[in-house]
């Protein structure tokens, strides 16, 4: 992990070896992620898994994905939330019938 020092103008200097390693150029955009745990400087672009998925798609599949994506993006936040909500699994004793009993080896 590299330590960055904030100067009096609030600017940060990225060590030259990191600039070289990451191929950063003047004008490149970096994202600053703020969370309760701290700050994270993130180099934009697409992560490896997402890129690999996208690259694996044919032209037809990309068109289909775009269509589905636009449909999803047109939904309200409430509609998306409903789509991702499932009945919360019950914790009651009487629902324990679907649990798998482990056997001693």
């Amino acid at each position: 992990m590299e330590k960055l020092i904030v100067d009096t103008d609030g600017k940060l200097t990225i060590p030259p070896e990191i600039i070289k390693k990451r191929g950063l150029q003047p004008g490149d955009e970096l994202s600053l992620i703020e969370s309760d745990e701290g700050l994270l400087v993130y180099q934009g672009g697409v992560d490896e898994k997402t890129r690999s998925w996208w690259n694996s798609l044919t032209q037809d599949q990309r068109q289909m994905a775009e269509l589905e994506a636009r449909r999803y993006e047109s939904l309200s936040e409430e509609e998306k939330n409903r789509m991702w909500s499932d009945d919360v699994e019950s914790t009651e004793t009487e629902t324990e019938g679907d649990e798998i009993d482990l056997r001693a080896k």
Binding site: I33, E37, L40, T50, W84, T91
Partner: protein, 176 residues
């Protein structure tokens, strides 16, 4: 983080954000910071281990989504089954002010069963919920004591079970 996890359970919020990051890419829209964070975390963890899990509920939700987006997740991630006592442990976790949903995901972390590999529990639960991480961390000693008391009285195969670590996507990115 001292060593990488061998097995990881992603909560629904993480999978949703990674899914939505891909949706944004396909739609040609810029992702949100939280989607970037979850996607980077997901990609990083996928490099560390292939024992990657979701709960049955998350799997069911993904199965209802368009295949073009859902199938890669269902290929990467195994759905954990519920081993006996999962719900009993979830009920006890609710005593520590966890919501029913949080209690269930935590219980999967100890009593989630991989049918194929015949293993139980995971090393780490990754979540987007900072409240869950904090509450777990704050009460960990008491939770651990309660867990040990419970498994002490259970039959042989359950005596070796353990508690997972709970960590947010942001912590994964800053800590690994």
């Amino acid at each position: 983080m001292t060593s990488g996890p061998n097995s990881v359970l992603f909560d629904k919020g993480v999978i949703r954000r990674v899914y939505e990051r891909r949706v944004r890419l396909a739609a040609g829209n810029p992702p949100t910071i939280l989607q970037i964070e979850a996607s980077n975390c997901y990609a990083r963890i996928c490099k560390l281990t292939d024992r990657l899990y979701i709960t049955e509920q998350t799997s069911n939700i993904l199965r209802l989504r368009p295949k073009i987006f859902a199938e890669p997740f269902l290929a990467d991630l195994q759905s954990l089954k519920k081993a006996r006592y999962l719900r009993r442990w979830a009920r006890r976790l609710k005593d520590f002010s966890f919501s029913p949903e949080d209690a269930i995901i935590l219980a999967y972390g100890s009593f989630g069963f991989d049918l194929e590999k015949q293993t139980v529990g995971v090393d780490m639960i990754v979540t987007t919920d900072q409240g869950l991480e904090k509450n777990y961390f704050r009460n960990f000693d008491q939770i651990e004591k309660r867990f040990k008391d419970m498994i002490l009285n259970l039959p042989e195969p359950y005596k070796d079970l353990r508690l997972p670590r709970v960590i947010t996507t942001a912590t994964v990115l800053t800590g690994i």
